[in-house]
Symmetry: C2
Subunit: 125 residues, 2 copies
DNA sequence: GTCAAACTACGATACACATCGAACTACGGC
DNA sequence: GCCGTAGTTCGATGTGTATCGTAGTTTGAC
């Protein structure tokens, strides 16, 4: 059966992922997504990449299982923080910086700056 | 029994409230506190007051019961977003802007700006 | 086709949270 | 002392969430 059992897939087997449009990104959802340490780690990693650069889920060393990782990536995607696309066996992820900066100017930078400052105070987190 | 049954009260009946020190304010807790619409409304109201100005809980018209209001104010206080002090029968609340701006420069303003922008797009929220 | 790698789905679990109503406490005024 | 106002506490409830393990799907390589 084509495309069965795949979250966000249309009838044909193309493996597409649903993303909220820029206008549908909600501030509360973004703040909630950022309030989890695992997800903040993901965002921190992606924000450290070059503009538009992608990374597979496996590139980030998270202290949780793969199924939990899938969960967190979905929360980030549905909140509008990241964009994901299948490329071969990997699922490439990039941060939606342009959308975020347009909707919430300075928010992402403020969070990343605050997070970096805290991490420099408390060496290992 | 002196001071029994009062959250954060010391042995003598003085009704003191515990607040985290500036250094103990955690970014995740702040983001989580801001990710609830009721609490965001409280912060928006307090941020609109003059510098250092206080307001009683009852000054904000929230669409929840008093016990739920108590809950949200406690979340905000324990996250380090607000400072509360008893004054007569009222509990006066002020935003901890200096602490927040020192720890997370630009974060509160970015959230408030984004919230204001969204509220101007969607008139009633 | 077979196999391994990458990721997903599902069910379970344990915990956190937003909400309420009802009963209670603290304070100021009469 | 009595009462009203402001806020708290407690228990309950329904919902959300972070986590896991196991089993499954998809894809590229062989």
């Amino acid at each position: 059966m084509a495309g069965a059992g795949c979250e966000g897939t249309s009838t044909v087997t193309v493996r597409t992922l649903d993303h909220p449009a820029r206008a549908d990104i909600r501030l509360e959802a973004v703040l909630h997504a950022l309030s989890d340490p695992v997800r903040l780690q993901v965002v921190r990693f992606l924000a450290g990449l070059a503009e538009g650069e992608e990374a597979p889920c496996s590139a980030i060393d998270l202290a949780v299982t793969k199924s939990t990782t899938t969960h967190h990536f979905r929360v980030l995607r549905e909140a509008g923080l990241i964009h994901q696309v299948y490329r071969g066996t990997a699922k490439m992820t990039a941060i939606r910086r342009a959308d975020l900066d347009a909707l919430f100017p300075g928010l992402l930078d403020a969070v990343l700056t605050a997070d970096a400052a805290r991490r420099s105070r408390v060496p290992v987190g």
